[in-house]
Amino acid sequence: MLLRPLERSSNEGPELKRVYLVPNRCLGCEECIEACKREHDWVACNYIEWVNRIYPVQMVCNHCAEAPCELICPAGAIHRTETGAVVVEDDKCIGCTLCNIVCPFGIPKFSEEDRHAIKCDQCAERVAAGKEPACVEACPMKALTFAEVEDYEAERRERTARRILEVGTCLRRFVAKKES
């Protein structure tokens, strides 16, 4: 009864936008969390994790394809919207917390006050209005981007290429010196 068959084909449909992080730009100022709170009735659904207690990494729902939370939710309260976001329907949630335990990233929370699970809905209203999600807009360091995979990868390729170029220049100079 609990597990419904894996029937959804995730790779079809329109290109979907996601929130991506450039970790070394993140200061850990938690502006994203505050922005999320303000957007979602003072309950944030994203986290800043401190790796080795120094490096901040912003953690937000990945809206996985074949999302475990969506598959495990016995009440059918978690579903995928047209924009590809995996969201909780508050009034259908029965509060079993299975989504919280099953998420490989440990993202969904449970609000004891409102009695339903809380997770990122990718600011559905804002996105529908043509804006970026609150966390992306609020990030003062522009460490977060809201983009389709292709666009984000293109930017990332460029970043890496630039680094290789820099390293390459260094190396060439170093090698040239040695040879001479």
Partner: protein, 249 residues
């Protein structure tokens, strides 16, 4: 789509929806206790009763269970209905005199004084917990026992349940909040159901984070890597964060 009339307003709703859903779409407030959008309708609290007129015949029905049909005329606020709701609410307060949500609801429905001696219960027998447990979680750990005034929610034989996974859905759907779940050390205690469950310790930080039975069940029902399930969500975030930091410079 089916077009029906509620309190003089026409509304179109999808086939298979209930009168309650149609009324809420119109912004008409119908009080409910045993209704939950995620669970099958039950029609037990009878607070959501409405008058349904069809082919000239009027009937009183619970709006949460009544599917819409074409040419239905619904009235949600007649004198009779108000009396039914008020009396039912008064009976509920008499049943659970100490329950704050029930008192508030009764006040809203116009109950001024309760003319009956309290029964001192905390549970209003709305069946949300049993439905969540049986239909959704799929482990019939709790159900109604006895009948009439003796009816109550309990595990079989009112002893430690051997199927409860300790998810706590029962407590969270309860409108009166009478099911308490406490985590004490390595035990999760559901005192009203005489049930104690062992909690799983996180393999990283050692914190107790979820009942072992729940984890065992998730292991059989999901494809999530097993190592992850034995970590608490906070440690999972840490682990993934470290990976991200490494991978995504």
């Amino acid at each position: 789509m089916i077009r029906i009339e509620i309190d003089g307003n026409a509304v179109e709703v999808a086939e298979g929806s209930t009168v309650l859903e149609a009324a809420r779409k119109l912004g008409i407030d119908i009080p409910t206790l045993c209704h939950h959008a995620g669970l099958t309708p039950y029609g037990a609290c009878r607070l959501c009763v409405v008058e349904v007129e069809q082919r000239g015949r009027k009937r009183i029905e619970s709006s949460c269970t009544r599917p819409v049909e074409p040419d239905m005329v619904v009235r949600t606020d007649t004198d009779d209905l108000r009396e039914y709701r008020r009396t039912t609410a008064e009976l509920l307060v008499a049943q659970c005199p100490d329950s704050k949500p029930i008192r508030e609801l009764a006040e809203r429905l116009g109950v001024q004084n309760v003319r009956f001696e309290g029964r001192g219960m905390e549970c209003i027998l709305c069946g949300l917990c049993t439905r969540a447990c049986q239909q959704k979680i799929g482990t019939p750990a709790i159900s109604f026992i006895h009948r009439g005034v003796d009816r109550k929610v309990a595990t079989p034989f009112e002893i430690q349940s051997d199927v409860c996974i300790g998810c706590g859905a029962c407590a969270r759907v309860c409108p009166t909040g009478c099911i308490a779940i406490e985590d004490m050390g390595n035990k999760r205690v559901l005192r009203v159901f005489n049930t104690e469950l062992e909690l799983q310790a996180c393999s990283e930080c050692g914190a107790y984070f979820a009942p072992q039975r729940m984890i065992d069940r998730l292991k059989t029902e999901t494809e999530v890597t097993e190592g992850l399930l034995t970590r608490c969500p906070a440690c999972r975030r840490q682990a993934i964060g470290a990976v991200l930091r490494q991978a995504m410079r």
